[in-house]
Symmetry: C2
Subunit: 269 residues, 2 copies
């Protein structure tokens, strides 16, 4: 059995005392640094591997302070405070030769329990992914080969006044969903500015937050290897825009909601 | 001229080397710890006061790891990495006698510039706040006296299958909006679980993120001292639910979008 390239990309070697050694992946490379989704997933993986970890991911925020270069990096994941049912973490990624962290983050893990529960945000009706064409992005970066994106509502690069899209997301090759891959899926949606402008423009995620709505036991019951995602922007203003997304399993379970702020350069000025 | 109680609540005394001394406010006290909105605003205020600060708030996440007790506290706000147009921060709040931080957070500040801009999320049509009654909360906690909340769409405690609400928010006494007060407004909405259950139940915010959509220059052009906010939950599951909100100025400028994860106890079990 060979290891999936995603598992290789987020693989970490424990170095003791909250530290883990990792290495960037050629497969999940973006234009000038790694695909942000694998960076988020790698930070999550450090906590999942940590011997003091309590429960499952509840919320995480990752800040992209500087570009990770190709090669080795060090993850620090530190449990700041643990209560009976929640655990708070601080994370960083550093590389040799850099005095300051390239990535910072925080996370909350939690133990869910029996309680009145209800999901208000239902998955939209959608054609099955098998009935849709795989999206061929005009952006020529390696990580896009690792995701099978199928947009259900439109050509996402048609341009127009509305940045909303809906799509199926699958790992290539197909891979069972887990917290790390769900976190990475949260950063795969085509950038909202591309949707509005009808093509690629220079952008970079600055800060990304994910709220998880399921625990590990619920992940065992998921059907299929795809997620279904809706995303939209609230505002583009002065070189920064936001993206809000919702991610469901194929059988309609809300897995995560996600929000990011993105830097952009407007080439029309 | 007397200082507004909100400015007293978030007042900080520089202690050198990223440290600031603060004190909890009787006015903005919640049930067992300070109103989370003032805690968020205090962390923001530390960065706004910091001599190395670049630009205006773009994104911030605050994690509520333990309850702040009445009395003095110390804020640490550290600039992790600064680029030409963005600056990344790590923040903590500690109190004497606690080995671990009670609050952790990260923030990104940024300098906006001329660029193609567009707001997709328009403010809903709403009756003026003067034509609506002030909401009288059944929750008897001090900080609610400091906010004039006026719900436009419904009795927020009617119960039902939809947690969405829309309301005007004003400081008491009336106060000009700034980044700190906008951040605090993001945590004033009636908890989504109260809306669903038709009354108060035990809840606590665990992690709160705010994305800001305006810079300081735009704040100068705001009309009125109210904000208008929409909020909803995506899911309540196993003792944790989320809240998504959008906050506009009275003249319809999108100021911030905000997302939080909340712990709850279900008293019906």
């Amino acid at each position: 059995m060979t290891t999936h390239p995603f598992d290789q990309a987020i693989a970490l070697e424990p170095q003791g005392a909250d530290l883990f050694a990792g290495h960037t992946s050629e497969h999940y490379w973006n234009a000038i640094s790694p695909f942000g989704g694998t960076t988020v997933a790698t930070l999550l993986q450090a906590i999942l591997l940590h011997p003091q970890r309590l429960g499952d991911p509840l919320a995480m925020t990752v800040n992209f302070a500087g570009p990770i270069r190709k090669g080795a990096f060090t993850v620090r994941a530190h449990p700041v405070r643990t209560s009976r049912s929640t655990q708070h973490w601080q994370m960083e990624i550093r590389q040799d030769g850099e005095a300051e962290p390239l990535i910072t983050g925080t996370a909350v893990f939690a133990v869910r329990r029996d309680a009145w529960s209800d999901t208000e945000s239902a998955m939209p009706n959608a054609v099955a992914p098998e009935a849709l064409p795989r999206y061929a992005s005009p952006a020529n970066v390696p990580f896009l080969e690792m995701y099978d994106m199928r947009y259900v509502d439109c050509n996402p690069l048609a341009g127009g006044a509305d940045s909303a899209t809906q799509c199926w997301i699958g790992d290539v090759p197909s891979r069972r969903l887990d917290f790390a891959s769900i976190a990475a899926h949260c950063d795969t949606f085509i950038p909202r500015l591309f949707v509005r402008k009808g093509g690629p423009t220079p952008i970079a995620t600055i800060s990304l937050t994910i709220n998880f709505h399921v625990d590990g036991a619920a992940l065992e019951k998921l059907e299929g290897h795809h997620t279904f995602a809706k995303a939209k922007a609230n505002a583009f203003n002065g070189g920064y825009y936001d993206q809000e997304g919702q991610v469901w399993s194929r059988n309609g379970i809300l897995l995560a909601t996600t929000h990011q702020m993105v830097w952009y350069r407007d080439q029309s000025l």
